[in-house]
């Protein structure tokens, strides 16, 4: 890592970030990312994840607000922030007919902070076929090439835009392994956009849920899995209101609820004398689905 780079306590900061398209508005988004944190930006297609990352990479100019990376403003006309940013997107702009090696050589001459040694080690570690033209690389190998290209100049912030989208399960697991290895040392702050919910468990420390261009919830992964529960119970008194309930179902005499505040709900059930209470944990994927289904409601309730 370059010692001359400014030490700041925030890896990335989005302040009032707004981008308008016909029929869609992203933001205003306010978000901070601490060094060493892996934040998953979760949302359905069209939620604004890619636009957010493109704004952070300086590829899209926001209409209002802005972004800072380690204190440096992100603007296409300024280049200081780029040494700290590595971007892995679906399209990385490589020369398709050139081999992976030739593309990396091009970048090595183009980017002053590039380390050929780091690129070589990474390529070996993830078994990147360097002498194959990019157009003939499989999707997984293209993602690997993008990862090498994104990391070889030693950035402190890694932006990953759906890196596992469209990959078959085997290659997906392979790419996740690579990303997990890279992020586990805690040297990189990572913003990881995904709509593949099962990726979240593996990589993310924190989650930010985006829906229709709005940030509906930001929370820690562990905090989320501790507070959400599926609870079934029987209750004599039918006319009660429980706090934290996100979804309710009734199967004959049994009530089934999903709560985002399990301790409070269970406390209430005890006080109400509920019987046959059964509590089951929910996976982060299941919770994410609930949040995205009930986005605005959850944001208001938890806010």
């Amino acid at each position: 890592m370059n010692d001359q780079r400014p030490e700041t306590t925030t890896a990335a900061r989005l302040f009032g970030l707004t981008k308008r398209f016909p029929g869609f508005q992203l933001g205003p988004l306010d978000l901070t990312l601490d060094p060493g944190t892996v934040l998953a930006l979760v949302g359905p297609n069209g939620a604004g994840k890619t636009t957010t990352l493109n704004c952070m990479a300086g590829l899209v100019v926001p209409d209002e607000g802005g972004t800072e990376v380690y204190g440096a403003p992100v603007q296409p006309t300024r280049t200081e922030y780029r040494r700290d940013v590595g971007y892995v997107g679906e399209e990385s702009g490589f020369f398709q007919r050139w081999t992976a090696r030739r593309n990396l050589d091009f970048l090595a001459k183009q980017i002053p902070e590039w380390s050929r040694e780091r690129a070589r080690r990474l390529s070996e570690r993830i078994a990147l076929p360097l002498d194959t033209p990019v157009s003939k690389l499989s999707r997984g190998n293209r993602t690997k090439l993008a990862i090498v290209a994104a990391l070889a100049h030693g950035p402190r912030l890694l932006l990953l835009d759906e890196p596992t989208s469209g990959l078959d399960p085997v290659v997906r697991a392979e790419v996740l392994d690579v990303l997990w290895e890279i992020t586990e040392d805690g040297d990189h702050a990572v913003l990881y956009s995904t709509h593949v919910l099962s990726d979240i468990n593996r990589l993310a420390d924190e989650l930010a849920f985006l829906r229709d261009g709005e940030l509906v919830l930001r929370t820690g992964r562990d905090e989320l899995s501790e507070s959400w529960r599926q609870v079934s119970f029987r209750l004599r008194d039918e006319d009660v209101e429980l706090s934290g309930i996100v979804e309710y179902r009734r199967v004959r005499a049994e009530h089934q609820v999903i709560t985002r505040d399990a301790p409070a709900t269970l406390q209430q059930l005890t006080e109400l004398g509920a019987e046959a209470v059964e509590v089951s944990r929910m996976s982060v994927d299941e919770i994410a689905v609930q949040i995205l289904k009930e986005g605005h409601h959850v944001a208001r309730a938890s806010g």
């Binding site: 590829l59 296409p76 280049t79 971007y87 990385s92 091009f106 183009q110 002053p112």
Partner: protein, 212 residues
Amino acid sequence: MWHALRAELAYFRPWLLGGLGIAAGVVMILSVLMRFLDEADGPPIFVVAIFPIIAGMVVSFIAQSYRIEERRARLLLSGPLTPRQLAAVTVLLPACFVGLSAIAVPLMIGLAALVAGKLEPVTLRIVGGFVVQFWAYAQLGPLAQESTAARRQRRGRAAIVGWAVFVSVILVLSASQFFLQSIQGHLWQAVAVVAAMGVAAALYQGRTDFTR
């Protein structure tokens, strides 16, 4: 910036060489036909010169579409290049392709003369006029692209300026056809080239989206 420009030229070199090969083939066929038809003067020099220049122009259009499709701006903006330097690369590429094709013009003329026996002489000014004409057409590619991008990015005024200059350049080039032998005709052609390059570069710098 120069490194990026050199890389782009190296990347599209096979297309340029292929285009020049096709141009040489056409020139050969034309020259052989002229010889069989027993034309006294052979093919005119400016006709022979046009084919490699057209090849350069076509390759510049191909390069432009590949650069968009391959999202080259994304790769180049991962390094220290600024939008101004990217704009320079974008508008200089057509000039480089046409310029490199112009180097092949004497070779084509020699080849045609060898096959046809002799060529109908014309003034260098006419040959130059045709070269600049096709160079200007090549520069219209980036101008049209940036005008379209400006409209998509809701930069209405920039889009209007871009398309206005596009239409003006075509009108100027059409009118200059009648003055290819005069200095004024060449001056207007030069103005058209500079306007197309300058406005395309300015529109590129004003982009709000560099993802394509």
